[in-house]
Amino acid sequence: MIFRRHVSLFASPDPRRIDIRASLRDPAEQWWVREYQQRAAIPVMVVLDVSSSMGFRGMQNRARTAANFVESAAWSANRRGDRFGLIGFDRRLREDCWLPVRQQRAALEGVIQHLRHDSARDAGHEGLAEVPAWLPREPGLLFLISDFHWPIAALKRFLEDSRPHHVVPVALWDRSEYSGWPDRGFAFAEDMESGERRLVWLRRGWNEQVEAAYAEREALIHETCQSFDLRPLFLRDGFSAESVSAYFHGIAA
């Protein structure tokens, strides 16, 4: 318990906590009550998509962005004395990207290095459904880091299943994947997960079309999160602490 401030007895009518010394010091002769802040370590968790599409390299190296985010989140949690945990998933839960919710940093470095240096990746997102069972019971802050290139229904189900936690969906997108197409030529676009190949005839207006499709997708993600009173954070230019801070200030406002 940490002392926070004095409040008047009227604001906090708890006579057990009357501070006699402070009340006597007051020329206005008011009764003051001590208010304490509860010193509680809340769990901070990162649920990280480590599927193949998260290895995308456009203007940013998506795997590195994710690793930076994890590192930063772990560091600030540690500083505040919060517990930090990490759960990676692709088509199943990934044990090599797993940190139980603890307060120790020992294993963290290794896992972050592992994330940063493109490890073998697998397709899929189905592991996400198993994540809620492994979350701590007490409510905490949960970052869901992914490119959200999987069905919206899965996101909806996850948000329902992880109810007591405050979820921050963090979407890692890259400007290349939607506006980085060359102006002309032919491209055999290959899906990084399904391996499907599609011939795209690049011509004027293609980038605009793709951008429109991505904007629509973004709107859909926003809408889904909104129905859970959540707000997604879109990171398009890699990880920066400023954009994350701005996000939280936005929530406070």
Partner: protein
């Protein structure tokens, strides 16, 4: 059909384009997000199908696909006609039946030569599809024109046959041999006709007879003899009695009998005036207008140039697309 059929074992390779295109891909995290590009999809299909067909063509080309030897029935449209025109002096005279008054007045009707030329001109004009050769003969054969389709030249040559005077002698045997030689080294494409226009017959020695017989049979020639009967000339039909031996002494009889025993289609026309001449020519015209059907053996033809050309054409789209392919994002830094 195939010279190297074992190359056909490579035919399954044609399925490769359906599995994979030889073009580097551009990795994208989520294709489903991309808008539909029907043109690109169509192009993809065309590309793959063309590549499959291209490889099939390539393999067929390697196996040396060829069209086998076969026999086709060919319908000849144009005949080859060689006209042997007598230019002896007797041809400058009129036809046989002249009235006494004409003789007295020394007025001659149209000369045999002139009538023959006029009728031949019409004949040539009526057969635009035929190749026509012309040979004048007298003492020696005179090659005027080889077989040609350029009828204005033929007409001019026939016209030119009226210039000057005829010569004294007539050697039908040499003329026949030279006329038949016109067909040497030519493919047999239609009926071959030799029209002999003369006003007299000839005795032929054994060697000449053999040569003519051989050449006529070899070239499968139809022979027409238009006999312009002059004054006092004997007719071809036996008007007077006598045995064969006696009649053979008459050159016209002899020639007629020799021709009819030649073993080729033969017909003789006796023309005593321009009308009969014209009738004879139109008869030939009618007979030789029938389409000639001949079986022709077409030798094996290699289709390699077609198959390889086709392969080149069909594989071209793949080459073009791969030349214009992009494998990098235009905005990329973190590589």
């Amino acid at each position: 059909m195939f010279d190297y059929p074992w190359f056909l074992l490579a035919l399954p390779l044609a399925l490769l384009p359906l599995l994979r295109t030889p073009i580097q891909s551009l990795p994208h995290p989520f294709l489903q997000l991309l808008p539909a590009d029907p043109l690109g999809t169509l192009l993809d299909r065309i590309l793959r199908v063309a590549a499959v067909a291209g490889i099939v063509a390539l393999v067929l080309g390697l196996a040396d696909l060829s069209r086998g030897e076969r026999v086709v029935e060919r319908v000849g449209t144009g005949a080859e006609i060689v006209i042997l025109l007598d230019r002896s002096r007797s041809m400058d005279q009129g036809f046989g039946r002249t009235t006494g008054s004409e003789q007295l007045l020394m007025t001659q009707g149209e000369s045999k030569n002139g009538a023959a030329r006029r009728v031949l001109t019409e004949f040539v004009a009526s057969r635009p599809n035929d190749a026509i050769g012309l040979l004048n003969f007298s003492t020696r054969p005179i090659h005027v024109l080889p077989l040609t389709n350029r009828h204005e030249v033929v007409q001019a040559a026939i016209e030119a046959a009226g210039l000057g005077r005829g010569l004294a002698e007539t050697d039908i045997g040499l003329a026949m041999i030279d006329g038949l030689r016109y067909f040497d080294d030519r493919p047999y494409t239609g009926s071959r006709v030799l029209v002999l226009v003369s006003d007299g017959g000839a005795q032929l020695d054994e060697v000449t007879q053999v040569k003519i017989t051989e050449a006529a049979r070899k070239h499968r020639v139809s022979l027409y003899w238009i006999y312009l009967r002059g004054r006092g000339s004997p007719g071809l039909k036996a008007e007077t009695g006598g045995g064969d031996g006696q009649r053979d002494a008459v050159p016209e009889y002899f020639l007629d009998r020799f021709f009819s025993e030649l073993g080729v289609p033969y017909r003789a026309y006796e023309a005593e005036d321009p009308q009969q001449l014209k009738a004879a020519i139109s008869d030939i015209d009618r007979l030789q207008r029938l389409p000639t059907r001949t079986p022709e053996v077409i030798p094996k033809q290699s289709l390699a140039s077609i198959t390889f050309g086709l392969a080149l054409l069909l594989l071209l789209p793949v080459v073009i697309v791969s030349a214009l392919q992009v494998t990098r994002w235009s905005r990329s830094a973190a590589h």
